[in-house]
Amino acid sequence: MSDPNLITLTVNGRTYQLPEVPGEMLADLLRYRLKLTGTKVACGEAECGACTVILNGEPVLSCSFPAAKADGADILTIEGLSDLHKTPTADGQLIPLHPLQQSFIEYGAVQCGFCIPGQIMTSYALLERNPDPSEEDIKYALKDTLCRCAGYPSIIGAIKAAAFTLKTGQPLPHPPIDPSNHAGRVVGRIQPRPDAIAKVTGKAIYTDDIQFENMLHARVKRAGVPSGILRKLNIEKARKLPGVVAVLTAKDIPGEKNHGLVIPDWPIMVGIDEQIRTVGDALAIVAAETRQIASKALDLIEVEIEPLPVIDHPVKAIQDDAIRIHKNGNLLKHIKVRKGDVEEGFAQADVVLEHTYHTPMHDHAFMEPECSIARLTPEGRMEIYVGSQIPYSDRNQVARALGVPEEQVRIIGQLIGGGFGGKEDIAGQIHAALLARATGRPVKLLFDRQESLIVHPKRHATQIRVKVGAKKDGTLTAVETELFGDTGAYASLGEKVLTRATTHSSGPYEIPNVKADCYAMYTNNPPAGAFRGFGVMQSAFAIESMMDTLAEVLHMDPVELRKKNALKVGSITNTGQVLRESVGLMECIERVEAEMNRLSGGNPFIPKPVEGAPHRLRAWGFAVGYKNTGLGGGAPDKAGAEVELRRDGTFQVRSSSAELGQGLPTVLQLIAAEELNQNPRQIDVLLMDTDLTPDGGPTTASRQTFVTGNAVRHAARALRQLLTSELAERYDVPPQEIRFIEGLAQVNGKQVSLSHLAEQMLESGRQPLASYTYWAPATRPLGQGGDMHFAFSFAAQAAEVEVNTLTGEVNVLRLIIANDVGTAINPLGLRGQIEGGAIMGIGHALTENFIVEQGRVITDRLARYRMPSITLTPEIIPIVVEHPVTEGPFGAKGVGEIVLIPTIPAITNAIYHAVGVRFDRIPVDQEKILLTLKERSGNY
């Protein structure tokens, strides 16, 4: 170092000299000082690889690489990659992207996009050293570069394709994905995401990538204890720390003191003499000139908490002598399903079985930690920049906390680096707004990974008792379930999640007698809320494990048992709903069964030793599942959308619905393009802005393709009619003689450009715009019979596992996955959902366990909460089953959640078939497998 206080480094070919900042990591230097925000920080603890950059030719983790250590280094970031190499096309052109970037786009490896710069840079380093990597090489190199959308198979395919192109100079080979059986002109065909280029070049902007001039940085003082009364809070020392601009407590909240999606029971901050209910409760918030100063200020806040007993389990919460976590007691809701008479059903049964199953909390572990920026406009309105699944709910909750009308708040939704249900509740939106209001300056509140893990709602931990009765031939006569669900300290969506768990707890079967009771309980654990699968993942694990046990007791084939009872068109569900159409369950079962028999060579459920390694046993397991599309249960389910023809002749589709990586922009783009007969490239999709986009409702319950998809379809149709009548009038031709083709209208053989049409309409004072509010078919509340939901998706899966009987280790080798999705509108996005759901299912089955002891979070780092890495990727054999729904857009129904639901019991059932160890709780514990095997062999 020539000057000890200067760092010299070359980034993407440009040399910089920068003063050294104590404690600064390379990622921060790149992101905040050089504004190269393509490099992402997802964990800050050297676990996830999102921050990977190439330093002197080797990939390193910039989040934990001291900036000073990079002195003299040559660094390549995602922003510099496209300068190095271009991608040839079939017609001899060059796409101005590195083949890795282009292949990630074409193979659908890009979903939420947050991990993608890290994936691509790590892959780049691999290909530099190994131009022709095998799948094993790829898995080894990307072992620690995590993706929660988990398109690992697509990532592997993309890397191989790029390697081929780099080696041969040939165009990228096409991804092996089929169009829909009901494909239209564009709907149902392969279409790359509209935001993919930005995501592979590092230009995509997520909230933490935004910096405003004069912006402050906020941090939150959290309770750190799970139960108690806040007796004292002294913020004076913190307030006096140089660089601290504001410290606020509960008494500084001008409006409502609580937030909450359904019940406002969650304090924005806990006030003096008020109750602390979970470790993540906020006590005070700080805004300072730097994040470091804000963090230091937290340590200077003095807190005195009178401890209370900790209720750490829902069964403890229901006891009469348990302390009350909320004024009205600890029972959030008792949920009941009744059909027929179970006692009679059990009396008719030849076999009655009963067992209790347990599932733990899970964390969404979306790659992008929560971030909110609040900014007052000169007019005094509050703008919130945030990646949120429910922008209009954010607006409502922020406005209520500030005590201002909703119109005074604008949510400007940013790209979301993964959500999975975990970005439906308020995280930092209100805190940032309070601080922006108090200081008059923009305020950024970014969670670190630890805060994210402790604060946002988790998947509900459940205890599920299942009692089944069946005839000798396998006909189910009765199912009784009793669920205890841990909704943690606050309601969030607990009642709705656990209602779904309850109504789905007897599985996708037609059963004459059903009784289900669920007790949704408050505890002092972190709150639980929405998470992909929404309660159904839990109950599917219980019932599908029980069905396998039942098959064994009845000496029946497990697939036959499911076929015998499967829901079909005409069936009546346990809530009294008659299924009139679109029940593809039997086709899912039959197609998975056929593929499983083909791959296993028959007898899939008999363990087979691996040749040359007899201690490794392989077998298959089978499971089915179903999941509602849409809110259901009588909740009004609607979405607004508008479509506009712009002056340049392109269209814009607008809705506040959220894109979390699942591919909604592509779906809406394809639907509008189909209706308007345009190229999808002519359609721009704007989402998640409460000023600019109509309310699309929450992005939850696998509903957006159906609900907002329909809204866009109808709006596009209305716009088409509007444009047609405009042209008909203007050119005096009958409307039926007007056609639209790309960028043009054909009027009586004459061509009119759409930009010209837009100009003309605007000049004559008419907006070339149509909006539509789509109301999904009405549903009825639980307990009233009739249609509780307007559609269901169905699925069957088979998993092949290998169990090492020397160590107990389990590997998932192959997954056959069939989903009835109605119509596959966006097959590329669908593939991503299928892969990601399956990998998340593998994680839930084998690795993930959000551990809380006495209300304290043990798994408070990504290093401790194990989401699956690419090394766990099995071969995935997807089967798309399409039983269209009349009311769905082009027949489509939801898919975001069903993909995950059968995976877990398929794996645990396979383990049972391989080694005879039955798991009634997840994750699977390899120690238990081994010790059980040893006990059984009398070796212990």
Binding site: G23, A46, Q292, I293, T807, T847, I858, T859, L930
Partner: protein
């Protein structure tokens, strides 16, 4: 709240020692920093004023044969060690262990010096060094000295070195002779808090019939790492057949108290895995010992 106040990059051992001893506050040497920085950040390590980056000191970056020894510099990235033909030949177990540290990105910065200074009782790299008669070269302002590796540990995460004034220069491992070999393996538990349950390194010298000499290191088998000498004793002079392996397994049970830890594994499971790993590493090393391929 800054993780450090001052970050210095010396280019010689003397300069590094000077930075350490003259810092106005607590000072620590840093290699890749993959453990140290996180520990400071997460409050598991007392605050540090000055970090002395040792990764540009030429002496610490050497990886070469020195007389009858293989020298591995303390600051050589473990990726380089994994891929080094010298290490793969002379100290296969070390190459295998280094290939399992972290992920590829971490291996580009992590060092064996850091792995050993960190003093965790089950660190993969450190355990592999234990199976060799590794001598560690240490420098302070009094000069340089050699110490056997087993003298460097005080307790879990506690090094016997004075890290405020001394640094590890590198490791001397005996060159592989005819009939010698080594192997390393481990078992992870991916469930919940993912941590290695058990790892094992072995160094062996055999003839065509029996094991002449053997070193076995198992981690974690106590607060500080140690060689499983009683297990070794059962194998020396015997072929690795089922009888002597059975005696060796019994010796594990008699001489090593595995701990049950809620997040990792129960003692019974660890004991079982120690038997599985023992067979595996001895089997590998026995095979390898006669594969004297040229470097």
């Amino acid at each position: 709240m800054n993780i450090w106040q001052k970050y210095v990059i010396p280019h010689s051992i003397e300069e590094a020692i000077h930075f350490l001893t003259s810092a106005p506050g607590p000072a620590r040497p840093i290699g890749g920093g993959t453990d140290l920085l996180l520990e400071i950040q997460q409050g598991h390590h007392p605050p540090v004023h000055t970090l002395v980056d040792v990764t540009r000191i030429p002496d610490l970056l050497r990886l070469e044969e020195v007389g009858a020894h293989l020298f591995i510099g303390a600051a050589v990235p473990v990726r380089v060690i994994t891929e080094s033909p010298l290490v793969r030949y002379h100290a296969t177990a070390v190459a295998e262990a280094c290939g399992l540290i972290g992920g590829p990105q971490v291996r580009n910065t992590a060092t064996l010096g850091g792995n050993v200074a960190h003093a965790l009782p089950a660190a993969d790299g450190m355990i592999s060094l234990f199976a060799f008669d590794t001598q560690v070269e240490i420098a302070n302002d009094g000069g340089r000295r050699l110490q056997p590796i087993h003298t460097l540990f005080k307790g879990p995460g506690q090094s016997a070195l004075d890290l405020s004034s001394e640094i590890i220069v590198g490791f001397y491992l005996p060159l592989r002779q005819s009939g010698q070999s080594s192997a390393f393996s481990r078992v992870m538990r991916p469930q919940g808090v993912a941590l290695p349950i058990l790892n094992m390194a072995v160094w062996m010298e055999r003839d065509d019939r029996v094991i002449h000499d053997i070193h076995i290191a198992i981690g974690p088998s106590g607060p500080v790492p140690f060689r499983a000498t009683r297990v070794e004793h059962e194998l020396i002079g015997h072929p690795p057949d089922s009888i002597s392996l059975q005696r060796a397994k019994e010796a594990i049970h008699q001489s090593i108290q595995f701990r049950s830890s809620a997040m990792r594994a129960g003692a019974a499971y660890r004991h079982h895995l120690s038997e599985v790993l023992l067979e595996e590493v001895i089997g590998k090393a026995w095979q390898r010992a006669f594969e004297l391929e040229a470097v």
